[in-house]
Structures are given as C-alpha cells and as structure tokens.
Subunit: 338 residues, 2 copies
C-alpha cells in the first residue's frame, strides 16, 4: 500500500507538501501539484475518498460532455443527462456537468486523473468524445472509474461503456422490413471509423446474412452525422434499386426523407425509411418516422449504475440496453410492380 | 390498465376468486389458479408488488439453478451465488435458492410466470440452464424480470444477461501467447451449439485474424465440458503442430495438462496451456495454470444490479464484466528448434 510518506520520499519533499498537493491547497504551486499527482498516480497511490466511507458532501461525480447537444428536450443529450442525474440523486451522488470547452476542463488537460482527483470527483461519465480526443486516449490507462457512451476501451477494469444494443435494434428493423417484403435494403451509416459506426455496419451485415438477404456494397454508405448528407448517397441508392433505407440516426433519416421527396419519390410508397434514436421530433416528421428507439433516460440511469459499480470495484465492461422498434408510417409493404 | 375486475369478467368468475388465486389462497383449486394466472398474464395484468413501494417483507427474488455445482468454494457457482446474495442483502432483497430438481420448481413448470407470481418473487437469476430447457424457452415471452448467466435472449425487455467479456479475455490470452512467439494456437471449446461456446469460438477466430495469426480448422474442437475429453483431441493437436492450447474452462485445461503429460510431453516446455475461469484449484495444478479469470463474486453482484434494474423498468440487455489474464507457469515462450 503506497502512502503519502512513500510519495514524499520518492520526491524528496515533506509529507505535508504531498498531502497539501493532493488536497489542492492554495499555498502549493501548480508545478508541484502536477509533480505530486503524476508521482502518486505512477506509484499506484489510492485516493481514500473513492471509498464507500466518504461523507455525503464528497460523493461527487461529473459528466464530461463534448460534441453533443443537451440543452433542450429535443436534443439527444437532454434525457441522457436527466436519467444520470435522477439515478445519482437517489444514490446520494452530486453531479457536475462540465462541457469540454470550459477552461476548467482544460486547465489540467494533460492529466485526466489529476483533474479528477483535484476536483474531488470519484468518477466520470464521458459523452460525445471522439476516439481521437486526447482525453479519451488517457482513459486507456486511467485509474479513475469512468463510463463512456458509445465508445469502448478494453482491458482497463476501471472503464466501462453503456450503449443501446445495436445488434438487437438493427435486427428488429431488418426483420420488420423483410416481413414487409423488402429485399434490397440500404444502410446509411454515421461518421466512418468510429466504434459505433463500425458496430452498426457489422450488425447490419451479420443480420442480413442471418436472414438470407443479399448485402450490396453499393447500398452501404457513411453519412457522417452531418446535415444534408443524403444528397450524396440517395440518388445512387435509388438507382441501385433499394426499396428501404435504414439510417444510423433520426437526423440522417429526416434528411433522407427530404432528399427522396425532392427527387420526386414518395415515402413510404416508393421507399421505406427507418431511423435510429427516436428523438422527439421524429414523431412529427412527414411522414412520422419509424425508428429504433434508444431509451435515453434508461441509458443515463444505466451509466450511473455502471459508474457506481466501478467505484465499488465491480469491473463492469459493457452495459447494453434493449432496443425497441417504434413503428410509424415512413415504412410500408414493398411496392409491387403490377 | 388491466384490473382484477377485468380478469374476473373475462373468466366469468367473482373478482374475489381472481384476487384469491393471485394470492395463492388455500381455498382455490389449482386448476382455477392456473386459469386465472394464464388469463392475467395474457391480458397484461401488472402485479403491483413488483414496484418500489412494496414492503420489505415482500422484496423477494430467487436464484434458479441447474447443471451447476455451488456447494463448496472450489465450485463455479459458489462465489456467483455469494456475490448475488451480498448485493441483494445491501439492497434489502431476500433471496431463495431453488435447485431445478426440487419438486417445488416443477409443480408449475408449465408456467414460469405463474410460478414466480404465486411464490411472490419479483425476479429471478437463472444459472446453468441449457437453451433447450423448457423453462428457458418460456423466458422468451416472460413478463417477469429475469437475468440469465451465459445465455442470451434478445427482444424481451424484461430479460437481461450477465457474463464475462470473452472477447476481451480470449483476446488477452491470444495476445499474450503471440508475444511469447506462439503461432499455431489451438482452441478446445466447451459443449457445441451453446451460446457461450459459439461466442468463444467466434471471439477466438476474430482475434486470431486481428493479430494476423492463421486459424486452423484442425486446431479447433469441442470438449463438451466433460471430464476426460482431452484424449480425443490432444493427439491431433500435437500432431498438427500446436504449440499452445486455449481451453474454454479450467476443468478442460486440467484434463489437457494430464493428457499432454500422459503422451510424454511437458507443459509448458513443449506446449503452453491456458484455462478459462480461474477456479481455486487452478493455482494448485502442476504446473499452476495460466488462465482467464472470471470474477465470480462480481458476476453475482452484477446479476443482482441488473435484476434490480429490470425490476425498476430499466431495460438492460447485457452486462459484461472485464476479464483478467492470470499468468502462472503452464505457459511459456514457444520452444525454439535448435
């Protein structure tokens, strides 16, 4: 068991300097604090307040958020954060929300663990970060309990991830389309080379195979989660005979419906469109969108349950939620050629 | 919302008969109880005591156990059940353990939901059941929160499963063997056509591909989780040039070590052997077994956390725990031909 004395000895400073640094005291320079944190982490020093016996006032966790909108009910992050906070409150955890563009977040950005310890957070829920983000790279070796959303890092027992089971969700969508007579089904994915896009396209291909439906390379594209991506792919999908398009998000699906309509086709008479997420606006599209629901409140709650588990040394790696197919009218029986 | 009156009306009986049946009263015949339960379930009647507001005395869940030994510390089920019970106690759940060979378990075996409701269980943790078991088939359509171990049923929001992340575990083992210079790695799996065996062999093949190692069909076999399975496969593995064998359980690995020794070879000098589980006896084998640890206490705790989530309407589908490679001396650098 590494003690404050061990750290002091290694650094050749007084134990009080180490103690004060770890408590973020005002009379210690930032340079010294950095050095103490780095050394403490390197030596495997265990922060005592990460334990169950910490006082309620110190039961603090945070949500680190980047690239995701969450300020109003229509946005993906809103219910995610609400679910996390609700579950946290019932377990006496205090939650701070830290947008990644805040200075506070970057002041120690070269050391995630130090940032968490100095701010007395027992753990974090990180949402919206891309795999290339420097912070996310640090998560590979963190000793701070951390839950990722839609991003997976293996082989670190202090890191887990929460997501909707996309195999189940895409499976439900493709089975449903097959039952409606569709055979040439296209998939318009999100940003290329992200973990979640890779999982979704793999799921799509595996399920198509399991259902004995042919997978066409020209009917699988990446939409990059940007507005107006549909115009680059929909003409080719239609030309190649797709009768249904499964999209990686409701935003993409909304754009697809617009593009299909602009090209003079009708949803669902000419082509069925299915989204992913079930955001509030999706029920109000024309036509209302059939979509694979992500239960965002439950995802948030699960993230807190997972984080609470990691803090209590239960090495949870993945927690996947059931998907649900919400049938509306953007999908219909395949058009028969009379 | 379906009420007791609705059920009574449908059946043409008095509401008191329905109420008494649902409470398993002595003065109602078994036949009537069956009929009431079947009808209540069919109509989607929601049992009120599944909610948070039930009294402590009624917070009951059960562990249904089949084909798994759990009576002493050396057996797989022991810590699994202990972890579940520990987590249950801290959340005020009372736990009953029901071996599948008990009459009590079969008295309503044609209806799992009825069994659970009549016995006032809010949920169950089912371990050791095979997919062909009649009960497990009923789980596909149950409305009772149910957690499975090493068995997965999709598309039922009331059913989740808990397991060790075998992709991570087998990945750690294969990477470790590759670093020791091994190229011809064999995999001796458990019983054929079970979900867990399918997942493990898929994981093995995927990881071998990712690490640019050749997968040989003749180096992958099923050992059926029976004692003395090694003799059927080890001679061929050795003949085909395997330098390492990853096994689907410590029991199989133990048998493999015996068989390799019997054939005049030495572990690890001639061939490395890696197990899966890290049961207590594995450290005492000759040589002590390198193995992929399943943290059984944490698996049990996670099962309760998952079940508690399902009871509170959080539709958790999967909860996977981090694996850990325990390096002992049944594995070593590949033998170099001088």
């Amino acid at each position: 068991m590494v003690t404050i004395k061990d750290i002091a000895k290694r650094l050749g400073v007084a134990p009080s300097t180490v103690s004060k640094s770890l408590n973020n005291a005002d009379d210690i320079s930032d340079e010294t604090k950095h050095l103490v944190f780095e050394t403490a982490l390197e030596m495997g020093y265990k922060i005592k307040r990460n334990k169950n016996n910490i006082g309620l006032a110190e039961r603090r966790v945070c949500i680190l958020i980047d690239n995701m909108e969450y300020e109003n009910h229509d946005q993906f992050g809103y219910d995610l954060i609400l679910g996390f906070k609700n579950a946290a409150t019932s377990r006496n955890w205090q939650v701070d929300i830290i947008p990644a563009n805040l200075n506070a977040f970057y002041e120690l950005s070269n050391n995630y663990d130090a940032f968490m310890i100095q701010n007395k957070y027992s753990g974090a829920f990180m949402i919206g970060f891309s795999m290339h983000n420097d912070y996310l790279q640090q998560i590979r070796r963190t000793r701070i309990p951390t839950v990722l959303f839609d991003n997976h890092i293996t082989e670190n027992p202090k890191v887990g991830y929460v997501a909707t089971d996309c195999y189940e969700g895409i499976g439900m969508a493709v089975k449903y389309l097959k039952n409606l007579g569709h055979k040439k089904i296209a998939f318009l994915n999100g940003t290329k080379n992200t973990m979640i896009s890779d999982e979704r396209i793999n799921a799509f291909q595996q399920i198509m195979n399991e259902l004995s439906l042919t997978v066409y390379d020209e009917l699988m594209e990446n939409g990059y989660y940007v507005p107006n991506c549909a115009k680059y792919h929909i003409p080719a999908f239609l030309r190649n005979g797709a009768t249904a398009i499964v999209c990686a998000s409701d935003l993409i699906a909304s754009d697809v419906i617009n593009e299909v309509t602009r090209l003079g086709y009708t949803v669902p008479d000419d082509i069925s469109v299915i989204g992913f997420d079930d955001l509030p606006f999706s029920a109000n599209l024309t036509p209302p969108l059939t979509t694979i629901k992500q239960d965002r409140l439950s995802l948030g709650k699960s993230a807190l349950i997972l984080l609470d588990g990691l803090i209590n040394d239960i090495p949870i790696s993945k927690m996947l939620l059931h998907a649900k197919l919400i049938e509306r009218t953007s999908s219909a029986h395949v058009k028969t050629n009379l």
